[in-house]
Amino acid sequence: MTPVLDHMLAMGVLPDTPRSAHLSPVKLDTTALPGGSVVMLLFVGSDDEPRYVLRMPRTPEHPERLVCNFSSLEVLSGISELRSDVPDPVFCGHVDGTLASVETCVPGLPMALRMRIARDEGDLQELVRLFQLMADWIWELHQTTATPDAASDAAEEVRALDAIVQLQETGMLSEPQASWLTGVARSAGCRARAISRIHGDFNPNNALIADHDRIYVIDWEFSRPGWPLYDLFTLARTAWFDPPGGTGPSATRAQALWDPRTAMGQAFTRAISRYEALVGMDRADMRALFGVYVARLVVEQLAQRAAWMPRLEEEWRSLVAVAVQA
């Protein structure tokens, strides 16, 4: 075993795990971007299923995400409606000089795996059903953690406005587009009642599906107080499934998402209609707010030099085109 695991056993930080137990670590596939974590499943003794998930930061000087994940789990495990849907936080601290956190391993498989092999109309219907389940879960998260907080609301607005300015400077946004998006970002702000804890990276890799309709949400590394719509937008953008024959009647994915004639468009529309009343915005403004969200995403990815930036850039241009058209 590794020094970290040896010390964890010696410190007795793993509940129901004797100090003499054998721990078997399995390193999982996770993003290799700086600031992320290396994630391992821990099998204990002769268990057939992993019992714990161990995380260690990729770079010791950036432990923020790992700590954020753990502290978010601590908060969520104190909310009775959500505690069974997220891993239990077990331990976070330095072990033999190395920062590590441990949480319980939840069952299920990422929705992303189902998307990966989806091929036909039946698969699409199943993905739409799962999308709705996940959108409902985001609503539940919002309902149980909503805290009117003007400071967090203002912080979200500042981030959005910064992103717009930065994109304008890089030439990815024209002057009229920028001023229009700025207006939307400002009107979306000042609605502190729509602030709640958000996941921050609610994509199909982080939603595990078990027993057909049971959802477990993992990887709370980007969690913070924010506009819950951002989780929904992330889900919509990443859980997209091209129906057989492409994007159906719409030319692009971005258009199809807002097109009620597509199955995903219907599911998405149903999900955002709950928030329209909450933040007092109409559909056109919501669409523009989606543009603001993508602007922020583009700026974040530009900073990280993500390999999939070109794809996102293409998506961004398509989205702006759709928003302007509206």
């Binding site: 020094p3 390193k27 770079t59």
Partner: protein, 356 residues
């Protein structure tokens, strides 16, 4: 650092001088070139790029940074996949399953472009990144400087075939050979490659502390891709699967060269390491391979292998692969799943301690 350097020829401690390191018994000075200690005693060049291309690459690395140079120069000269190979930080993810602590002193043998050395540097006390190629060492030196790794020290050595590391006995907690052992034997033309590899492993054992560990990332001789026609290190198909004399014959006929890039099976590596004076190793399966280890699974843990295989086999993108995987692993007993994975895995990570 000078205190632990030893003459690669006579192993006497070296004295630091302004111009390099002096071995008094041999009256030989090992120079410092661009701040990189050069302990090589013979010329040897192996790299993806030619010296001219490397000169250009280094110029861009100096002016625009190593990442820019890798993305924009390396990708143009060579396969863009090489960029990922050079910059990928997850290549050093094996650190999570080996005995590495913030106090560890590490030797990275065959450091190449520095993906492993730079991946380990933030997590240990020091990394000695050794290679034969002065150009990649300069790239690595600039990369370390640009990343701010003051604990990463590149140095030039002779090919590992010679078994001459410029360090005193018991200098390191961890010796890494990631994608290197298979090439040991190809820089010399005398002696069986297996014997040359044994000599190299014995040298690794010498510089390891008694409680240290050797970490080897390497292909499985019988990896499933070889059965599907992937070329092995000789550049030929199926030679890895053949008996050595037959591989030798085929290599001489097809390439006019001897077959000197030996890899082994799961059992073969255990045997090789035992012969070199190591205790039975902990073996991990690196999936899809040790160069990009997205998953690292203990090779002797049948239930962990079965758990992962069953979990992901149903979600392989290609339907035909999915059906084959489900048929093979769906209802197979865990022990058989484990045995198949060990036999056919693309590559292994071996962690071995010196025998007492």
């Amino acid at each position: 650092m000078a205190s632990q350097y030893a003459c690669p020829l006579c192993r006497a401690p070296l004295r630091q001088r302004a111009e390099g390191y002096l071995c008094e018994p041999c009256s030989r000075t090992y120079p410092l070139n661009d701040g990189i200690a050069d302990f090589s005693t013979r010329e040897h060049y192996w790299n993806h790029l030619s010296p001219d291309q490397m000169d250009f690459m280094l110029e861009i690395t100096r002016s625009h940074g190593y990442r820019y140079a890798a993305e924009n120069i390396l990708g143009k000269f060579k396969d863009p996949e090489l960029v990922r190979y050079v910059l990928g930080t997850n290549r050093a993810d094996f650190r999570t399953v080996v005995p590495l602590t913030p106090q560890s002193s590490v030797a990275d043998l065959g450091a190449g472009w520095g993906a492993v050395a730079c991946g380990l540097a933030p997590h240990c006390h020091s990394v000695m990144a050794m290679d034969t190629n002065p150009y990649t060492l300069r790239f690595l030196s600039m990369r370390a400087e640009q990343e701010g790794f003051a604990n990463l020290h590149p140095l030039r050595i002779d090919p590992l075939d010679d078994g001459r590391l410029p360090f005193a006995d018991a200098s390191f907690d961890l010796v890494i050979m990631n994608g290197v052992l298979e090439y040991v034997g190809s820089a010399t033309q005398t002696g069986s490659p297996a014997e040359v590899q044994l000599r190299c492993l014995a040298e690794c054992r010498r510089v390891l502390r008694p409680d240290g560990s050797l970490v080897v990332g390497i292909e499985n001789r019988f990896g499933y891709l070889y059965f599907l026609g992937t070329r092995d290190h000789s550049g030929l198909r199926y030679t890895s699967l053949m008996p050595r004399p037959m591989a030798e014959l085929v290599a001489r006929i097809r390439k006019g060269q001897p077959y000197r890039t030996y890899t082994y099976s799961y059992g073969g590596y255990r045997h090789l390491l035992a012969r070199a004076g190591f205790r039975p190793p902990s073996v991990f399966l690196a999936v899809p391979n040790y160069r990009d280890p997205r998953f690292i699974v203990p090779a002797d843990d049948d239930r962990a292998i079965t758990y992962l295989v069953r979990r992901y086999a149903s979600y392989l993108r290609r339907r035909s692969w999915r059906l084959v995987a489900q048929a093979l692993f769906g209802h197979t007993p865990a022990s058989l799943c484990g045995a198949m994975a060990r036999a056919l895995s693309d590559s292994f990570l071996l962690v071995a301690e010196p025998a007492r």
